[in-house]
């Protein structure tokens, strides 16, 4: 009897619960439909245009992620200042949904897949060369998306069918006249080194940099006396510094992130390995913070333009907007923010000119034609393949002073 009673109770209660859950689910579904975004469709009046962004907010490149995030926010402020993107007489606010890739390829792939599942058509990132190939694989064979990325690894797809509607927001890094080759030439011109040491991470970005730098220095008659790679999570560089010191270099190419270059320079200073000049691409003055002035010569390739240079009037409005929003001046590494700032405003302009969000071919074509836009920071242009061209800079630090030099468009 007791077992039957238990059974009776156990049959009825779940059915009641099921009904409750059904009602609850229905309510949630209705609310979600009412409140949710539309995944990038702007056919309904005032619906938002949602861009899907994937970049690191945690992990070794999180500092860059913060700047990308701020560049995006500042661009959205410009786009949405009057209500958003005007299509058929209706303003559509532009929004960005950011997914943290945790500075991993798997995280970037998950993020892109999530945006795809959410029906996004406009993608910011994946951003890192170390994760780009993996994550871009999700989007590579699709024609229903526009991808905007600063990743060097994107460069090999530009101008190929797989790179259709792929826009790279940084000027060429990898080509013969690309940024890395120019960095080597600038180092040779500035420091006239005869013995160069290189220490870069063992990852796809390092894979791209090492052969270009090696070629660039060797073409100038400079001997590469030390060339090693390290695991990207390495923060103790003492064994490398010890080995490097034995080769007596006069210029040292170091790692490409401040989170690596900072401890490398700090430990070099602590070990009195300070006579050489140091430099890399993608780092900033922040790398010198813990060197107590012991490192006197340091150079870094600014992949866009220096946002912390008060003498650059072209970026004065950007700096003012940055300060107004965040209560601080843009940091030295803040030049990464420009990788998305101008392209987002350009995208908004392109959509407005085309008058639709779903005609991606027309929007992509328009992106290559735009030459002016509101609150413009850089003189960026996309060629017909989607490659950005602009004037970018290299910083030279010497005894406490920083000088910025410009490179012509390539």
């Amino acid at each position: 009897m007791r077992r039957n009673k238990d059974r009776e109770v156990s049959w009825r209660a779940p059915r009641k619960r099921m009904r409750m859950w059904t009602v609850l689910l229905a309510v949630v579904a209705v609310l979600a439909a009412a409140c949710g975004d539309d995944g990038g469709e702007a056919n309904e009046p005032s619906s938002a245009i949602v861009l899907g962004a994937t970049f690191p907010l945690t992990g070794p490149a999180a500092t860059l992620g913060r700047e990308w995030d701020r560049g995006i926010e500042l661009a959205l402020d410009v786009v949405n200042a009057d209500g958003g993107v005007m299509i058929d007489g209706v303003y559509h606010p532009m929004e960005v949904n950011v997914i943290d890739d945790e500075t991993t390829a798997a995280g970037a792939q998950r993020g892109v897949q999530q945006h795809l599942d959410d029906g996004r058509t406009f993608y910011l990132g994946p951003v890192s060369s170390s994760s780009f190939d993996t994550a871009y694989g999700v989007l590579r064979d699709r024609d229903d998306r526009i991808v905007i990325t600063p990743a060097t690894a994107a460069e090999k797809y530009i101008g190929t069918p797989e790179g259709h509607m792929l826009f790279r927001t940084q000027s060429s890094s990898a080509g013969e006249d690309g940024g890395y080759a120019q960095f080597a030439r600038a180092v040779v011109a500035e420091y006239a080194p005869t013995r160069v040491a290189m220490l870069v991470p063992q990852d796809p970005t390092g894979d791209t940099q090492v052969p270009i730098w090696t070629q660039g220095f060797e073409d100038a008659g400079v001997e590469i006396v030390y060339s090693e790679r390290f695991a990207p999570d390495t923060r103790d560089f003492a064994p490398y510094i010890s080995a490097m010191r034995g080769t007596n270099p006069d210029f040292v190419v170091g790692p490409y992130l401040d989170s690596m270059m900072g401890p490398f320079l700090s430990q070099a200073a602590q070990l009195d390995f300070t006579e050489a000049a140091f430099g890399s691409a993608g780092v900033s003055a922040a790398s010198l913070a813990e060197t107590d002035g012991a490192i006197t010569d340091f150079t870094w390739m600014i992949i866009t333009r220096a946002v912390d240079n008060p003498d650059d009037r072209a970026l004065a409005a950007y700096r003012e907007a940055y300060f107004a929003k965040y209560g601080e001046d843009p940091p030295s590494i803040g030049y990464f923010a420009l990788s998305f700032y101008d392209p987002i405003i350009m995208l908004a302009e392109a959509i407005e000119t085309v008058g639709a969000v779903d005609d991606l071919e027309a929007i992509a074509t328009e992106l290559t034609r735009i030459d002016t836009w509101p609150s413009q920071a850089m003189d960026i242009e996309f060629d017909e393949d989607g490659m950005a061209h602009y004037t970018y800079q290299q910083a030279f630090y010497k005894d406490g002073e920083i000088v910025f030099r410009e490179f012509t468009r390539n």
Binding site: L57, T58, G59, P60, A62, T63, G65, R66, Q202, E228, R229, F230, A231, D233, R235, D236, A238, P239, Y240, S242, A243, R245, G246, D258, S259, G262, P263, S266, Q267, Q270, L271, D272, F273, A289, E290, D292
Partner: protein, 285 residues
């Protein structure tokens, strides 16, 4: 260069030992692989940074954060790990969940930028022709003295004997009247406190950043297995082997190969001496 390389190995061994010692105690007594140990180390380094930048003296900050971490250890043991006392797998999953929680706290509290604790001492010294950073010498000395004393306490002091007895056989220890649950809590307190000390000291030579402890904890597990699971003495030996092997391989081998050396050491030990260099198959703590 050999002197510098050997010293670099000793430094690596020191930070691995600092990271691994508390972990070994917790595993020895609780039989829980506490992955959150690394996150606690990171959190402690940030807390020490916060206090030091607020004007606290370095060692005062270390002591204060050690007390706080020990308190966190008590809470974790009483409210989480004790509830899964007979389910080590559940304990493992809880510890992995704690990593996410603590890492999020760190991210919210301090953001993504690496921070730097002031060096304990500046400059370098020349030893047998090799140039060695003084702050690293101090870290090695602190690790040797501190962990040596801790090991002495575990082997000689009454509470250390209770730890060892509980680690050896919990049921037998309980039958002998040892307050096993209190010993478990004490082990967690010691483990968390050691994570705090390790975080503060390591933070004076390496950047204090979100992944600090997570990166070290993987090496710490290798160190524990190489030295002998559950043996704190073996942990110190394992740290020396892994640290020296890593530094020598970085200096004298291509880096791509050098990165595999700690793992190769681990595999060789597992194949030839599964109980670890110093462990026996039954020894705990």
């Amino acid at each position: 260069m050999l002197v510098e390389t050997i010293f670099a190995g000793l430094f690596l061994a020191s930070i691995y030992a600092l990271a691994a010692f508390g972990l070994a105690i917790v595993y020895g007594v609780l039989h829980v692989l506490n992955f959150a140990h690394g996150a606690l180390l990171t959190l402690s380094a940030y807390l020490v940074f916060q206090l030091v930048t607020s004007g606290w003296p370095f060692w005062g900050a270390i002591i204060a954060v050690t007390v706080v971490a020990a308190g966190i250890g008590v809470l974790l043991e009483l409210f989480l790990f004790r509830r899964v006392i007979d389910r080590p797998l559940s304990g493992l999953i809880i510890s992995i969940g704690l990593i996410g929680i603590i890492d999020s706290l760190v991210a919210v509290g301090w953001g993504p930028d690496p921070r730097a604790l002031p060096r304990m001492v500046d400059g370098s010294m020349t030893v047998f022709g090799g140039i060695i950073a003084k702050d690293r010498v101090l870290v090695v000395v602190i690790a040797i003295v501190g962990l040596g004393l801790a090991q002495l306490a575990i082997t000689r002091a009454p509470w250390g004997k209770l730890l060892r007895a509980t680690a050896e056989d919990r049921e037998a220890a309980a039958m002998q009247g040892i307050p096993v649950l209190r010993v478990r809590t004490a082990a967690f307190v010691v483990g968390a406190g050691l994570a705090a000390v390790a975080g503060g000291i390591i933070g004076t030579t390496l950047p204090v950043e979100p992944g600090l402890g997570d990166n070290l904890i993987l090496k710490a597990f290798i160190v524990i297995i190489v030295g002998g699971v559950g043996s704190t003495g073996g942990t110190l030996l394992g740290a020396a082997v892994v640290g020296l092997a890593e530094a020598l391989s970085i200096s004298y081998m291509p880096t791509s190969t050098a990165q595999l050396v700690p793992l190769a050491v681990l595999i060789v030990i597992l194949l030839t001496r599964p109980q670890g260099i110093a462990g026996t198959l039954t020894e705990r703590v």
